[in-house]
Each structure stands twice: as C-alpha cells, then as structure tokens.
C-alpha cells in the first residue's frame, strides 16, 4: 500500500517538475537574439568597433553609449547593442515573433510588442529582473535595418518605461543608436 502511494507521489512530483519552466542562463540571451535574427533573415550584424573603424553613420553610437545621452536612461556601461544596416528583412514576421517569444519566455517578460504594415516594422520590449535593477531588451526591425539593444535600467527609469512602454522603448533604441547631428 505504502509502495503504491509512494509511487504515485513520485510520479506526480516528476510530472510537476517536468512541467516547470526551464530556466536558461541569463548571459546568452542578447547574443541568442542577434543570432536568431541573423539566421531567420539571413543577415549579418555590425559590431561597434567595426562601425567606428569604417566611419559609418552609427560610429558615433559608441561614444554616445560610453558616456553620452544613452546614459540618461541606461545604467553606465550596461548597454549591449547590435546593429543591422541596409539589409533585407524579408520573412514571415508572425513566425519570427513566435520564435522570439518562445526563445525568451523562460527568463524574460514580454512588455509590449508592436507590428506594423504586415511586419515591415516590428518592435519588441522584454524585461528581466536583475536584483534591484532591471534588464530591458529592445528589438526593432524594419524593412532595411534592425537593432537589438539590451540595457540595465534603474528603478526610476523602469518606472518611466512601465508608465509609457512604447515611448520609453523607442527612446532607449533611439538614444543607443543616435546619429550625431553636431
């Protein structure tokens, strides 16, 4: 009798464990998303050092990130940025969205997702708890360009993001990729 009850308990316990969400390592998600975009759309991102060397328009991003305007929102030194420039982003956006959500759902919370004109413009904002701060991952994709930004926000700036998710999300991307007009 005892054996049967124990077996049932173990079986139920194992089932519960099996149905629990798998927690992935925190460090790799930014790179995974960049790689996912590369594979899904068959494109290549350009790193900041390369941009700086090539003197491309986003080159000033690096300077901005290290100590410029982006710090208004992000914590110093917390920004990860990948830029895809002037490439074709053709593909089933619904499928991409589904893959992205699937890949991140275990550790990131989707806050807001906007799609426009049959996927020509896509914006995804995910949040992840990082102790007394919060990681924010913003993915924007349009017909020719895409950006993946991960920043760490202080509580004050997270409050701004939660109050106006769309506006603050755009501000994070714009500040991280700001073209120097001066």
């Amino acid at each position: 009798m005892k054996t049967i009850a124990t077996k049932i308990f173990i079986a139920v316990f194992v089932m519960c464990l099996a149905s629990a969400p798998v927690v992935h390592g925190k460090g790799d998600d930014f790179n995974s998303v960049v790689k996912m975009i590369e594979e899904f759309y068959n494109v290549k991102h350009v790193g900041i050092p390369f941009l700086a060397k090539a003197g491309m328009k986003v080159a000033t991003t690096a300077a901005r990130i290290k100590g410029g305007t982006a710090r208004r929102l992000a914590e110093a030194g917390s920004i990860k940025l990948a830029v895809f420039e002037d490439q074709k982003f053709n593909g089933d956006f619904a499928k991409f969205r589904s893959s992205l959500n699937q890949a991140l759902h275990a550790t990131w919370m989707p806050l807001i997702q906007t799609l426009s004109a049959a996927g020509e413009e896509q914006t995804y904002i995910f949040l992840r708890d990082a102790g007394d701060k919060t990681n924010v991952l913003v993915v924007t994709i349009d017909e020719r360009d895409a950006t993946v930004v991960q920043v760490t926000l202080s509580q004050k700036n997270l409050a701004l993001l939660l109050k106006d998710p769309e506006g603050t999300g755009k501000a994070i991307t714009e500040e991280a990729t700001l073209i120097d007009q001066e």
């Binding site: 308990f9 139920v12 806050l111 906007t114 799609l115 426009s116 409050a159 939660l162 106006d164």
Partner: protein, 189 residues
C-alpha cells in the same frame, strides 16, 4: 499508515493546486485567438503587464512625485493589464467570427456588461466587469470600429473611474471612457 495518508494528501494537493491557481486567474481574457489578424493589420499593439510587473511597478512609483503617486494608487492591487489592438487600412478585415472567442469568455460566469458607459471614441465600445459578489475582480473593454479593434483586459479590483484615469498609462490606449452612472445590467448579447 500516517505516512501513506500524508503522501496521499501531498499528491492530492499537487493535483488540485494548479486548478485553484487557474480559478484565481479567471478574469484574464485569452486573446491569442486574435493573433491571426496581425497579418492583415497595418498596426498591431500587444501589451502584457502581468502580476510580477504590476507588483514591480507598484513598488517603483514614488510616493514623493505627485504623478507617480497617482499612478501607484491606481495600479495598487491590480494583477495584470493586457491589451491587444489592431488598426487596418481598409474596412471589413475582421468580423463577428473573429470576436466570438472573446465574447464567449465574456458571456461566462461573473461577467456583466455595463450598458450605461459612454465613450467619446468613435465606433462601438463595450465594457464588461467581473463581479464576485459586490467586489469587482476584473474589467474588459472591447472597442470595434470599421478599421480598428481593441481589447483591454485589466485583472484585479478595478472600476471605470480607475480605467478612465489609467487611459494613456501602462500601455492602455485612450478609450475616451466617460465617468459612468451607477447602473449595471446583466450580460446580454
């Protein structure tokens, strides 16, 4: 024997607990049936502020700042805000069949359509509250226009005054809800 009883009790709890959790989340409207409309829409917005984020937000908004204090007061006790919104270039991109899965949920137990709600927004705005006795457990708004469809679902203790104040915050669109009169009518389609 006692050990067998304890084991059986734990087993029972493990089986029953998920059902109890599901029951507590009944005011959450499942909106994934609308996802296929994204392919036809010129603009799709999907907002998910779940209980974890609501708690976080309530903690983050400052009591010192007047604006933040107001928002904090509004969201206290809420368990989630979910919004799905579609804009279309042309008319006729969605119909009653698309909305039926949402309406079917709103015909469920506890949901009551508020018939005296006025909105400044064009089109048809339907507001539903879920009552548990005198307590409000959740709110749903269904806004349809020729080229627009929006579903807002707020989980937790909320009223229409609160909704009007939350418009434009936390991803909730401007629905133009005006202060309601204190009348309600049982759900009918």
């Amino acid at each position: 024997m006692k050990s067998t009883f304890n084991t059986s009790l734990i087993t029972l709890l493990l089986i029953v607990a998920p059902a109890l959790v599901a029951k507590a989340q009944d005011t959450r409207i499942q909106m994934s049936s609308l996802d296929h409309l994204a392919a036809k829409a010129s603009q799709t917005v999907d907002v998910n502020v779940d209980e974890r984020l609501m708690k976080l937000a309530a903690r983050l908004f400052s009591d010192k700042d007047e604006d933040e204090r107001e928002v904090k007061k509004l969201i206290e006790g809420l368990k989630g805000i979910y919004v799905k919104s579609f804009e279309f270039e042309t008319e006729g991109q969605f119909g009653a069949a698309d909305l039926e899965p949402i309406r079917a949920q709103l015909r469920g137990a506890g949901w009551t359509r508020m018939v005296n709600v006025v909105s400044k927004k064009e089109g048809n705005v339907e507001v539903y509250l879920q009552f548990a006795g005198e307590m409000i457990n959740g709110l749903a708004v269904l806004h349809t226009d020729d080229k627009e469809l929006t579903v807002v679902n707020i989980v937790g203790p909320v009223n229409l005054d609160k909704l009007a104040e939350l418009e434009g915050q936390m991803g909730i669109p401007d629905l133009g809800i005006e202060s309601p009169k204190p009348k309600k009518k049982t759900n009918e389609q």
